[in-house]
């Protein structure tokens, strides 16, 4: 009865709010999806934070610092949205720190050169924008509202990345090579960010049925490829896919097969940096303990 009513609300395009009745499975799936998303924002600070002290100019350093701060903010928007589903923040943090929770596998790749910072902004944030623009229409109100806030801010991330790449690509032959090398390493993992093909994605059908996802993984991935081809061409960088070809019939850019074995390997924990990321996150949490203690002591002192 309640479930029929709920399905009708979803079908009518209504927004579900925290106190509304919802199927337990909807709640569980949202907690899983939203917390993974929040964790990704938090862990996403690590590969880039690595380069803040080595940014080549003050302008670049300011931009990167602001971007990394945004990622922290985005994590917090989504954590606060996830909490409305009835799970505590501390539990979410514990799940991340203990390694129980998953986050986007893209952040388990290393940032070897400055050009990687450009490639992350251009590809990783670019792919995230495609995905999050769709999620801004998700059926769960707090999630959709967090996405709207994030989408407003994320364009800056993509543009700062693309500017880094354009500058390197127009620089010395060595700088151009550095940019191309970053493109070669980040392109395929970025395509994997959209997740397995819809037919192989266990969660996709359910999330689509409930209006959490409004488009399939393959459709979003295709949109990202279509957008990227022209952007790469404009700055004379080559996307590392010999099968990339314009399809007159569909109007899309066809692309070669994705190495899903690599994807599953990294998701399972065998990526280049899985352990390092989790250790860095745990160390940051431990190192912040004294700040939390000081804040509590201060509040206790002033409460009386």
């Amino acid at each position: 009865m309640q479930e029929t009513e709920f399905d009708a609300r979803i079908a009518a395009g209504e927004t579900i709010e925290p106190k509304d009745w919802m199927p337990e499975r909807y709640r569980k799936q949202l907690i899983r999806m939203m917390s993974q998303h929040a964790h990704s924002e938090i862990v996403g600070m690590l590969p880039e934070g690595n380069w803040i002290t080595r940014a080549p100019t003050l302008r670049r350093k300011m931009g990167l610092l602001a971007k990394v701060q945004d990622e922290a903010g985005h994590g917090l928007y989504i954590y606060c949205g996830t909490e409305t589903l009835g799970i505590d923040r501390s539990e979410l943090i514990d799940q991340l720190l203990s390694g129980k929770a998953k986050y986007s596998s893209i952040f388990n790749y290393p940032t070897l050169t400055w050009a990687d910072i450009g490639a992350i902004g251009w590809f990783v944030d670019g792919a995230a924008i495609v995905n999050q623009t769709m999620l801004a229409k998700a059926s769960y109100g707090p999630y959709a509202r967090a996405m709207i806030r994030i989408c407003k801010e994320e364009n800056f991330h993509k543009r700062q990345g693309y500017e880094i790449m354009a500058t390197l690509a127009a620089g010395t032959p060595e700088q151009h090579r550095m940019a191309q090398d970053a493109v070669d390493r980040w392109w395929w993992p970025s395509l994997m960010m959209f997740g397995p093909s819809d037919k192989d994605s266990p969660n996709s059908a359910e999330l689509t049925k409930w209006g959490v996802k409004r488009k399939g993984n393959d459709e979003l991935r295709q949109r990202f490829v279509n957008l990227s081809v022209g952007q790469a061409k404009a700055i004379e960088l080559t996307l590392p896919d010999p099968a990339l070809k314009y399809n007159e019939t569909t109007g899309d850019w066809d692309f070669g097969p994705i190495d899903w074995d690599e994807f599953h390997r990294v998701v399972r924990g065998d990526g280049p940096c899985n352990r390092e990321r989790l250790e860095a996150r745990n160390a940051a949490h431990r190192d912040g303990e004294w700040v939390r203690q000081a804040a509590e002591a201060y509040a206790a002192k002033h409460a009386n």
């Binding site: 602001a66 945004d70 606060c80 923040r89 501390s90 801010e153 939390r292 804040a295 509040a299």
Partner: protein, 95 residues
């Protein structure tokens, strides 16, 4: 989040520039009102989105419930005479 469990939750309301009304932005955890306000600024006003911020302990908010929706809001729904469309005016006159 350290020894004493979860810090209190605060709801954040921000007022955009230009005299617009306060709007709910999200929430933050903080030990007290002062740090809640600072956290809210860092999380929800990094780009001049706000000229004022309110933080309110989440537990202090009294809200209507979804079950209320029909009866609670009904007094407003059955009074069409509160809307201008309820009234007629002579043809061709702009009122």
């Amino acid at each position: 989040m350290s020894g004493n469990g979860e810090w209190p939750l605060w709801e954040v309301f921000v007022q955009p520039p230009g005299g617009a009304p306060f709007e709910h932005a999200g929430s933050v955890h903080a030990v007290d009102a002062e740090s809640a306000l600072q956290n809210a600024r860092d999380v929800y006003a990094r780009r001049g989105e706000a000229v004022n911020i309110w933080v309110v302990p989440t537990v202090a908010i009294t809200a209507s419930t979804p079950e209320d929706q029909g009866p609670f809001f009904e007094p407003g729904n059955d009074k069409p005479y509160r809307h201008p469309q309820f009234y007629t005016s002579p043809r061709g006159v702009r009122v």
